[in-house]
């Protein structure tokens, strides 16, 4: 395997999204993703990502670039960036979470799941269903049974808002 320090020129990778858009990034940025890292270790420089759409990929590349330059001094900056990054719609969050899962970027996964969890934690099941467009596949009898089985969890006040 060629060492990266051998030449001064940075090694580049090409990522191809599901919409056939191509993005060139530095290898050091890309390898934060376990999926890309494995491919790079196998000698690939062209990485097709059939499960990741352009919109999500652009955001994820932004994220990787920011986090690749992490030092002690720009801690605050990265925090602000992360905060802005997750300040988006639920649809976008799900798009990102699937992409991050496919790419195996664990720190991004944690952050996104935490954001989703934080946003739905006080909501009623009905509100959560609407937010996620969940098709309830229970019969009313089944649902009543589930509610009864976990009765202690369904007491108290809920937040019915959808944002």
């Amino acid at each position: 395997m060629a060492s990266t320090t051998e030449t001064k020129q940075k090694k580049m990778l090409i990522l191809k999204s599901a919409d056939n858009d191509e993005f060139e990034i530095e290898e050091s940025v890309g390898v934060q993703s376990e999926t890309i890292k494995n491919l790079v270790e196998d000698g690939f420089t062209f990485v097709p990502l059939p499960n990741v759409y352009t919109k999500a990929l652009i955001k994820i590349i932004d994220y990787l670039k920011k986090h690749a330059n992490k030092t002690d001094s720009n801690d605050e900056e990265i925090k602000t960036f992360d905060k802005d990054f997750v300040n988006t719609t639920f649809d976008d969050l799900f798009e990102l979470v699937s992409a991050a899962n496919y790419l195996h970027i664990s720190c991004l996964m944690n952050m996104l799941c935490q954001t989703i969890a934080d946003r739905i934690k006080d909501k009623s099941p009905e509100a959560v269903r609407k937010i996620f467009h969940i098709n309830c596949d229970y019969t009313p009898e089944e649902e009543a049974k589930i509610r009864k089985a976990n009765a202690q969890a369904f007491e108290g006040q809920f937040d019915e808002s959808l944002d």
Binding site: D72, N74, D91, K121, D122, P125, V128, R129, D137, N150
Partner: protein, 551 residues
């Protein structure tokens, strides 16, 4: 379109584990994929505080945890990899070994991460939840163990050191927080955990020494926070990188003879072979200069040394060929410091009433010295500081000042001193409601002449600098040195902490006088002909608590 049904179950698992216990249980009614995910989640997390708003929440919470764990126990193919429990109790009898039973299930399920936090509702100190030491010793597959507010109970008082019964040999990370544990139980635990990597004790009682007598090939860090440990002995930890000892130690008099009141403080530290120890931190430790000197000689690869509130230190002599960062905070008796540290990059003093007399036998040309004062109280302190700056005139010095006392702003006679150059002066919080700018900056500039000055820009200062700057052309003769300094300097600003520095010049200000109101931090660079390459220092070498002030 249902997005969640497309997601892999692992993601649902992850989201469920991050939800509060109650919300996670509610998620079961969303749809069948969610129910499946809830029932198969290998990361279990239960927090009683989520239930607090309900009547009889305690019983309901216990039933929920017990039902869930029983269900996992019945299904043999259902693994548990992580278990986290936060629970409150007021009376041990109410549990009847329930937590021990749960932990047994977890152990059977080969969970690798276990975290237990018990809050006592009665607030009385000795009433901690008693956990059997045997339960912990049985955790064969646990790699991460975190215990909070428990009392580890050793049933057999006989020595069980090295006994086969202790199976928790896979433990890698051990954190005990507010835990009562006997010396014997602790010794047994530590000596059996050959794989251990990080150990952290916080506010623990019941033991007073840590003897790591066997070889621990993977031990990376040992951190002790506010535990009454007087004796630490590490025989062989070849990979150890960091040792930290932080104590409150407020309840003894630092000025009397230290033979009588070392009760709470570390006084013996034996470190055998730790060739890789890079970072050593002592906060409120009763070591004196001699012990420290002996210790430093042994630490062949130490790079970072932190001494905070070490009140017995009067004289230190540090000679190390590897030390790069040294930070000394509030070691009030320290009067003399000798450094024979050729690789030193950063030396920081903070909150010392007076700086010790410093001498450098050998110092790197890159070394940078930061001095940080929370408050400059009186003229005496100011003169001490000036004296130290004179001693340090061959070094690059950064100075940070938070406030100066009111009495200083009216002091006479300090304005006629020769100026001392420092590299960078930071005025981190300049509150001087009663003083005028003139008297404030007179004092500041009587201390030193900064090549670069950084300060927080509030509205008043913004207005002031704008006035001064805009009238520059009409009023060419500026008598006051610091006004001249401020106006002739190259000015850069930041609107927010995270931003990059932007240049501000007179044209911009004339075009948009309001720009100054949005400025958060402003810095002035003295433009000099003989610009030395002084900005090459490495920012990571400045300890974090200073770095954020430099921002």
């Amino acid at each position: 379109m249902d997005r969640t049904s497309e997601l892999p179950t692992e993601i649902l698992h992850q989201i469920l584990s991050l939800l509060p216990t109650k919300s996670a249980a509610q998620a079961t009614v969303l749809s069948k994929p969610w129910l499946r995910a809830y029932c198969t989640n290998p990361h279990l997390c239960f927090d009683e505080s989520d239930f607090c708003r309900l009547g009889n929440f305690h019983g309901k919470f216990l039933r929920l945890v017990d039902d869930t764990l029983e269900r996992y126990r019945r299904d043999e193919n259902q693994p548990i990899s992580a278990f986290k429990l936060c629970i409150s109790f007021c009376d041990q009898t109410g549990y009847d070994g329930l937590v021990d039973k749960w932990l047994d299930i977890i152990t059977q399920k080969r969970a690798s991460k276990v975290s237990l936090s018990v809050k006592c509702t009665s607030e009385s100190y000795p009433e901690r939840y008693s956990l059997l030491a045997d339960t912990i010793f049985a955790m064969k597959f646990t790699q991460q163990l975190e215990l909070n507010r428990c009392n580890i109970l050793l049933v057999k008082q006989k020595a069980l050191l090295y006994e086969d019964k202790i199976k928790c040999g896979n433990l890698k990370n051990l954190t005990l927080c507010s835990v009562t544990v006997s010396q014997l139980a602790l010794d047994s635990l530590i000596s059996c955990c050959q794989q251990i990597q990080t150990v952290s004790f916080q506010y623990c009682i019941g033991f007073h020494r840590i003897h790591v007598l066997k070889n621990h090939p993977n031990l990376l860090s040992l951190s002790i926070l506010c535990c009454p440990i007087v004796d630490v002995h590490i025989v062989d930890a070849p990979k150890m990188l960091s040792f930290e000892y932080v104590n409150r130690g407020n309840n003894f008099d630092p000025y009397s003879s230290h033979h009588n009141n070392v009760g709470m403080c570390l006084h013996t530290l034996k470190i055998g072979t730790c060739q890789n120890l890079k970072r050593v931190e002592f906060v409120k430790v009763a070591i004196d200069g001699k012990v420290l000197f002996k210790l430093i000689k042994k630490l062949r690869s130490v790079k970072e040394l932190i001494l905070h509130y070490c009140r017995y230190l009067r004289k230190i002599k540090i000679s190390s060929s590897t030390l790069e960062v040294c930070s000394i905070v509030k070691c009030d008796l320290l009067a003399q410091a000798i450094f024979d540290v050729p690789k030193l990059l950063s030396l920081a003093f903070s909150d010392q009433y007076r700086l010790p007399c410093l001498s450098f036998k050998s110092a790197s040309s890159q070394s940078r010295i930061s001095i940080n004062f929370e408050i400059l109280r009186d003229v005496e302190q100011l003169m001490h500081l000036r004296r130290s700056l004179v001693e340090l005139r061959d070094h690059v010095v950064d100075l940070t000042l938070s406030t100066i006392s009111k009495s200083l702003s009216s002091a006479r006679g300090i304005y006629h001193l020769p100026t001392l150059e420092v590299e960078h002066l930071v005025l981190s919080y300049c509150e001087f409601k009663s003083a005028t700018y003139s008297s404030y900056y007179d004092v500041i500039f009587s201390i030193c002449w900064p090549k670069m000055l950084t300060l927080q820009c509030d509205k008043r200062f913004g207005k002031f600098i704008r006035q001064q700057w805009l009238k520059k052309r009409e009023n060419r003769i500026i008598k006051c040195t610091w006004k001249k300094y401020l106006i002739n300097a190259q000015i850069e600003y930041k609107k927010r902490t995270g931003d990059d520095w932007m240049t501000l010049d007179r044209k911009m200000l004339v075009a948009d006088p309001r720009i100054i109101e949005e400025i958060y931090t402003i810095r002035f660079k003295q433009i000099q002909k003989r610009e030395k390459n002084t900005f090459s220092y490495i920012s990571r070498c400045i300890p974090r608590w200073i770095a954020h002030r430099l921002e």
